[in-house]
């Protein structure tokens, strides 16, 4: 069991990050921290993809290098996914700015109280 985990340390870190991100997303009352949690969660998935492409003892996918090669495709996919993640963060933060201007707080519970009193 320990051997399996030790030899798959990178996967472990990836899934740990997903767990931490999900916990922040659900557990934190602060809207900005929720957005950060979302980012950490996505980063875990990105690392999982990148790690899955690695072949031990393989060389970079260049014509001048000798086979076997590591797979370049997941890296390319994740570049796209990172761009998507950045855009999502931008939209999320723009919304947070609007919410902060209206309620003067980032705390979810306080916002809920303000809305109930309206």
């Amino acid at each position: 069991m320990i051997d399996v985990l030790a030899s798959r340390g990178y996967f472990l870190v990836g899934f740990l990050l997903m767990g931490i991100g999900t916990y922040m997303l659900i557990g934190s009352d602060n809207l900005v921290k929720k957005v950060i949690g979302m980012n950490v969660f996505q980063t875990g998935i990105f690392l999982f993809f990148v790690t899955s492409a690695f072949v031990s003892g393989a060389s970079p996918p260049l014509l001048s290098a000798s086979p076997p090669y590591v797979s370049p495709l997941p890296h390319v996919l994740i570049l796209t996914a990172i761009v998507v993640g950045v855009s999502l963060t931008a939209v999320a933060l723009a919304l947070v700015v609007r919410i902060y201007e209206a309620y003067g707080t980032l705390d979810e519970d306080t916002i809920r109280e303000v809305r109930l009193n309206d």
Partner: protein, 519 residues
């Protein structure tokens, strides 16, 4: 000719740039650009549909890279019908938004980006490409929901963004699992590779679970629907009509593609509990969504919860996994889009006359807005499933398929949901037709009942602020009239709901060749 399928995605994105790039110079160019973009999109989708009708299924290798290495676009009966639906809804919503707003160039850009994303979901044949289109759809939708007035819209949008991103990320993780198992991302290639890897493999099973949960978030199945009522209720009417018609539809369609084009019915035969679990999730969604809809007093929220129930029914149809039920699911998917778009435009238009959008505000509306009220009632009964409307054709096939597959539970749930649908629509229609209007509205009867007034008002064009979403407008305010475009759209949707119901057999004939491959 088949280049049209790639242009379906590219053209709206290019058009979306213009209102942002030149909006500073020409302030009102957004609407014109969007209208032109929507019409070009309609032309392209009709070309794709014509190609499919004459030659059957076709594929398109993007950039000339041969699949499975490059990205493949697929046009077949189902995707052709759905892209035509997308174009028609886009044209209708752009026309409606001219008066109903929101009036900003960025709104039209976002709408065009959303059109591109949804078209992409419908035509792609690559699972990672599907993720990108789902996220484009998501991003544009979050921005559109936030165009609603006030901070409540921003809050609803942020909630949608956080939940939706987790859903899409789970889908991406599932795709990662399948990629690790097979080394390919092309749907057709995945289907053959998965059977050689073995459907029982933990990687494949986990991948299926993650993908289904991710897409169920996007399609708003209970208990993953929490983002949806807020997002529908807080966004402007034109946005609600658009996203209720197409956004969840795109997710449900993606689920259909994943189950049948990637996992294939052989997966169901090898691992029956996977789709059994989905049937149960969907059935719970039907019942809970309907009950929550009955409990709502705000009509937009009621329609939103109704969508939770209807998508439960559609996904149940997909998960029963026989040709009849899947046909029913697809017919209901298209019918639901037409009916919900019409109903949301109807609520928006009628709320302007009624001065509010709760069930009680609608009392006696039939006298003040007879045409739109009648169309609204027709759409409501079409969604309940009264023949010959499209709602009946879809539900009928789902129930028939459930009985064929021996899923008596689903058949029972579909019947119970029909009763509950009747319960929440009947109380609205009853108030509209058989209750007297509240007293202070009397002067407005003369103003609004006359159709001629509305024509004058619609001539006012974009300078009249027709945003009907201001639900709690003060009692003293002059009630708004219904714009001519809103009338045409609601009546058109009602006619379409009945008309498509009458030609449902032709629609099913278009789907048949697609489903024949799977069953």
């Amino acid at each position: 000719m088949t280049d049209a399928i790639a242009l379906l995605v590219a053209v709206p994105i290019v058009f979306a740039l213009f209102p942002i790039a030149f909006g500073g110079r020409w302030e009102h160019m957004g609407w014109g650009t969007a209208a032109l973009g929507a019409l070009v999109h309609l032309g392209l989708s009709l070309t794709v549909a014509a190609t499919v009708l004459s030659g059957g299924r076709f594929t398109y290798a993007v950039g000339g890279y041969t699949p499975p290495f490059g990205i493949e676009l697929v046009g077949d009966g189902v995707s052709a019908v759905l892209v035509v639906l997308t174009s028609l809804v886009t044209v209708a919503v752009v026309a409606y938004a001219r008066r109903a707003g929101p009036h900003s160039n960025t709104f039209y850009s976002e709408l065009l980006v959303l059109t591109a994303g949804i078209s992409g979901v419908f035509v792609t044949g690559d699972v990672f490409n599907l993720y990108v289109f789902i996220e484009i759809t998501g991003l544009a939708t979050y921005a559109l929901v936030a165009t609603g007035r006030g901070p409540a819209a921003a809050l609803a949008s942020l909630k949608y963004l956080l939940v939706g991103t987790v859903g899409a990320s789970l889908y991406l993780l599932g795709v990662g699992y399948l990629y690790v198992a097979t080394g390919t991302l092309n749907m057709a290639d995945l289907a053959s590779q998965l059977s050689s890897v073995g459907y029982g493999s933990p990687l494949v099973l986990t991948g299926f679970g993650l993908i289904v949960v991710g897409l169920a978030v996007k399609a708003a199945l209970f208990p993953l629907h929490t983002w949806q009522p807020g997002a529908y209720a807080e966004s402007p009417d034109s946005v609600t009509a658009y996203i209720s018609a197409l956004v969840s539809t795109a997710a449900a369609y993606a689920l259909f593609r994943i189950i049948y084009a990637v996992f294939t019915p052989a997966f169901d035969a090898a691992v029956p509990f996977a789709l059994d679990a989905l049937v149960i999730l969907a059935s719970v969604s039907v019942v809970v969504g309907s009950v929550l809809a009955v409990l709502q007093s705000d009509l937009k929220r009621m329609l939103a919860y109704s969508s939770v129930a209807q998508f439960g029914l559609i996904v149940a149809g997909f998960a029963i996994a026989n040709a009849t039920a899947v046909t029913g699911g697809l017919v209901h998917l298209i019918g639901h889009a037409v009916m919900k778009a019409g109903l949301f435009v109807g609520v928006g238009a009628l709320a302007g006359v009624a001065g509010g959008r709760t069930v009680d505000d609608f009392a006696g509306l039939a006298e003040r807005a007879p045409l739109v009220s009648a169309a609204f009632a027709v759409l409501a009964f079409a969604l309940v499933g009264v023949p010959p409307a499209i709602g009946f054709a879809g539900k009928w096939h789902i129930v028939l398929g459930a009985v064929e597959g021996g899923r008596w539970g689903v058949a029972l749930v579909a019947v119970v949901s029909t009763l509950l649908t009747l319960a929440y629509f009947a109380r609205v229609v009853e108030r509209m037709y058989f209750r007297d209007a509240p007293a202070p509205a009397e002067e407005s009867v003369a103003a609004a009942a006359d159709g001629g007034d509305a024509e004058l008002a619609s001539d006012g064009g974009s300078d009249g602020d027709g945003d009907a979403s201001g639900a709690a407008s003060d009692a003293g305010a002059e009630p708004e009239t219904i714009s001519m475009t809103a009338r045409i759209i609601v009546v058109g949707a009602a006619v379409a709901a009945v008309g498509v119901g009458l030609v449902a057999t032709d629609l099913i004939a278009v789907f048949e060749p697609v489903l024949e491959v799977y069953f």
